[in-house]
Structures are given as structure tokens and as C-alpha cells.
């Protein structure tokens, strides 16, 4: 079964996300800051990375995603944001934000599972 890395500085979000993903049979590994995040990604080589956009510093998540892509890590990244498109913060894919999809907090379990499955399917294909 697929391994998913969850990198978020909010332990409750890690717990809730892990619970949802584990219930669907995914394995998870977690980290609470970008440095630890790199380590678990290098060590475990996950199939998907869930990354929070803001950790210690705003935009930590973006920088981390950019760094991963520079290091040729091609693993799909699902980004947690707390500002949505409805507010008008348009995140687009591309150089600036090299992530594959977004989930807005609060996380709806169904939406999360759906997006995770979709991204994993893309990798397989």
C-alpha cells in the first residue's frame, strides 16, 4: 500500500490526517518541520507528500516544495492551505508553486481521500 508523508507543524492536523488516511489503508510517516520533512522523504521515499503551506514561517511549504523539485524529487505534492481561492488567493501550478493540488483547511475527510487517490492514480499511470 502507498506511503504518504505528512509534513505540518500542527500536531492535531497530522493526527487527523493520519487517522483518515490510515482508515483507508494508507501508511503514513510524519514530520513537523521542513528539515525533518526532508529527512523522512529521503529515508522513506513516500508515494505522496502532504505539505502545509505555512509552518514556522509563512510560505515554508512553498520553499520546501521548490527545494524538493530542485532536488529532482518528483513525488506528487498535495498542499494544505488555509486561504482558499474563494478569497481570491489564486494559487496556480507552475514554477512558483510546484505542487500538484491543494486542500483547504479545515480538511474534509472525503475531499482529502479523493484527492490523494487521484494523485496516486496519476503516478501509477
Amino acid at each position: 500500500m502507498s506511503l504518504i508523508a505528512i509534513i505540518d507543524d500542527d500536531p492535531d492536523i497530522i493526527e487527523a490526517t493520519s487517522l483518515v488516511l490510515k482508515s483507508r489503508g494508507f501508511s503514513v510517516c510524519t514530520a513537523s518541520n521542513p528539515d525533518e520533512g526532508y529527512k523522512i522523504i529521503k529515508e522513506n521515499n513516500p508515494d505522496l507528500i502532504i505539505l502545509d503551506v505555512m509552518m514556522d514561517e509563512p510560505d515554508d511549504g512553498f520553499f520546501m516544495a521548490q527545494k524538493l523539485r530542485r532536488d529532482k524529487v518528483k513525488t506528487p505534492i498535495l498542499m494544505y492551505t488555509s486561504v482558499s481561492k474563494t478569497i481570491g488567493f489564486e494559487y496556480g501550478q507552475g514554477e512558483m508553486v510546484p505542487v500538484d493540488d491543494f486542500v483547504e483547511k479545515p480538511i474534509s475527510p472525503e475531499e482529502l481521500i479523493e484527492k490523494v487517490k487521484l494523485l496516486l492514480k496519476k503516478v501509477e499511470a
Partner: protein, 475 residues
Amino acid sequence: MITLVPAWAHHYDEFWAAIRRRNLWFIKLRYFAVISLLAFLLIGQYLLDFQFSETQLTAILIIDFSILLYNLIIHRTRKYIGITPGQFNAMHLSLAQMFLDLASLIILVYFTGTIYSPLYMFFIFQFVIGSLILLGYLVYTVAVILILLYSALVILQHYSLIESHYISGLYITHPETHNLTYVILYLIVFSAMMLVTVYLTNTIARRLYKREQQLRETLNQLNEAEMQKQKYIMGVVHEIKTPIAAVQSFLDLILQNFLGPVSEQVEDKVKKARRRTEESIEMINDILRISKLKMLNLTDMEELDITESIQSIIDKVSENALSRKISIKYNDNRETNNLIKADKVLIELAISNIVNNAIKYNTENGIVEISLYNKDKELVIEISDNGIGIPKNEQQSVFLQFYRASNIKRGKLEGSGLGLSLVKEILERHKGRVEVDSPSIIGTADRPGTSFRIILPSTEKRARRRRKIKIISEI
């Protein structure tokens, strides 16, 4: 090209706007002067028996005609004259106008009696105007030239070295009965009056401009402070959202049985908690929206077909409307589908906010009617419902931040009271407005409802075709 503009005003839009505005005034005023001069000639000749000489008549008519001619030319070319400091600009035009006017006036004064001309007072008037727009040293230079020229004329005429043209009907005795002392005294007073006038007006005008500029700077600082405030609000609200989002994520885990089944009683309470967290998140999102709107002065204006926006809004809300057994009606009463200039995202946000309210504050079998019509070159989007309505004395307050009408039962319908203030803010950005009426045009005694009118300036341009709106939720 001499730069006539003071350095402090180079990039000062209001200064240029004032110069251009004044240029236009002078043009209008000059037409009036042309007519007045002609009237002076006609009334003087035929009613007051001025006995103009042949030379005087010809000269005054030629001057009058010349003024009319150059005024027409200036009027026509005014539009094409820019405001770039290094080139021929509105300021040079002002100076050119002043020279032309002074030349005309001095010739006119000469032909109406120089020292005895009733028209010489207009010099003062001209210098007041000149001082308002021209740089100090320029006005002084022009004033001194004029004083010298005028004095030369008066003195030359005093010694009969050049011909005098008195209006003979105006004097009882022959005018040349004063001595040199009178001439000198007259000229000293005239010069002093001119220079003092220039000094006073110039100083006052300059101070006014500077004051105005200071005011503008203060206004910019205020805007800057407002930005900072909005940034702060966004930061704080964001921090508040994080824990609430975490809470809601856990509540969802419970409600969706990720932690195993829960008793009905627990589920009921968790559901209530979930509703409250959702309410807070909605409120937070609304605050973030407003703050963002206030922070970004930029709106992305494009020409858009309003029927397309309305279709996409109806598509989005139809499911919700259908589930609440509310039907949506749409009619476009305009003769032509003119485009509007608007930020698509914002304007759709404003309209959908009102349409969503119309559904939210409606009851089963309710109606939401969207009508489009034109009124005085403006597009009116009227959204009416037959829901609970808004009490008469609260209709203006609904646009205030955090205001919720008293007839909304607390806890029954979620809402932050921010939606309509957002709508108002968006419309102000578009030079439009929003109006409210309750009872609405489709309301009845027991279902008063509310009509909202979004009014936007419309362009002359027509959309290629009028979209036929598909309404899915019609019952």
C-alpha cells in the same frame, strides 16, 4: 522650450488638472468678452452716443474678431496639448493665452483713450488670473513689461507724440487738461496696484497649491495606515482560523465515523458544534475577503458580458435552491446586451452573495427573480425574493459590517453579517451602487421579501449575442 512649471508640481496631477481646467475657463470667458465688446460698441454707438471715430470702430472690430479667432483656435487645439514638463504643455498654452490677451487688451485700451480708457481695469483682472497659474518671476516680468509699455503710451500721448483716440462722447471737456504730475501719479498708482496684485495672488495661489499637496500626502499616509491595519487583521484572523480549522477536522472525523460509531446524543451535539465552527470559518473567510479587497487597490477590469456571469452564478446556486424548493426566475428586459467594465471575479462574488442571501432567507416554495434592465445608461441587476424581508428601519444598516437584521433568528441561519458590506465595497470599486427595498416587487403580505438592485455603469459596446439563460432549478 522653457520649463514653466515649478519643480514641485512636475508630477503633481492636481496641479495640471487645475491648469487645464483654468485654460478652459479662460476660453469660455473669452467668448463672453468678445460678445461684451461687441455690445459695448453697439450700445455705445447707438444708445449712448459715444461718437466712435472711424479708426476706433475699425480697430475695435478687428481686435474683437481677432480675439474670437484665436480663441477658436485655442479651443480646438486644447485637447492635443499635453502635460509633459519638457514639451509645449498646458502651461505654455496658458502663457500664450495671457500674451495674446494682454496684446489685445493694450491695443483696445489704446484705441479707447489709454489713460482715459474705461477698459484698463481689466489689466488687474488679467494679472490675477495669470498669477494663479504662472510662475512668480514670469508674472512679474510680464507685469513690468506691461507697466513700461502702458507708461510709454501715456507719456507719448501726453506730449502728443502719438495720436490719441479718446471716446469723445464720454467727456464733458476735452480730456487733455491734466498736467504731467497727474500722469506720473496715475502711473505710479497703476504700477503699484499691478505689482501688489501680482504679489498677493501669486503668494496665495502658491500656498494653496502646497497646502493641497500636503493634504494629498496626508491622505496617502492614511491609506497606507489602512493597508497596515488590513494586513494586521488578515494576520490575526488567520491565526484564529488555524485552531478552528483543526477543531472542525476532528469533528468531521467523529461525524463520519472514523473513530467508530457514536451515540445519537453525542452525534447531535457534535453536529451542533460543527455548525458553529463552520459559522466561524465563514465569518473568517468573509473578513479575509474584505481585507484583501481593501488591501489591493487593483482590480482586474475587463469588458464582460453580464449574462455569462449570471448564468455561471445560477449554475452554482441551483442545486442549493432546488434542495430548498426555491425556484429561480430570470428575465432580461434590456433592448441590447451592452458589456460592462468590471472585475469578473469581484462582480460575480457580489451578485452571488445577493442571490445566495435571496435563497438563504427564503422559505419553501419561494421565488428568486433576477431581472436585468437599463436605466440612464446604467445596468440594473434586480434580485428579488419573497422571503422574510428586512424591517424598514434596518434597510440601510444591512450594508454595515457585522450587521444582521433583527428578524434573523440567531443560530438558525449561519451568516456573519459581512456579505453585504463586501457587496457594497465591490460596487464602490466599480463606480456602481447597491440599493435595497423591502417588501420586494414580488412580495406579499405574509412573504414580504427583499429586492436588491445592483447598479453598474454600462458601456456603449454590445456583446456579440445575448446568452439564453438556462435555469435548471425552476420547479
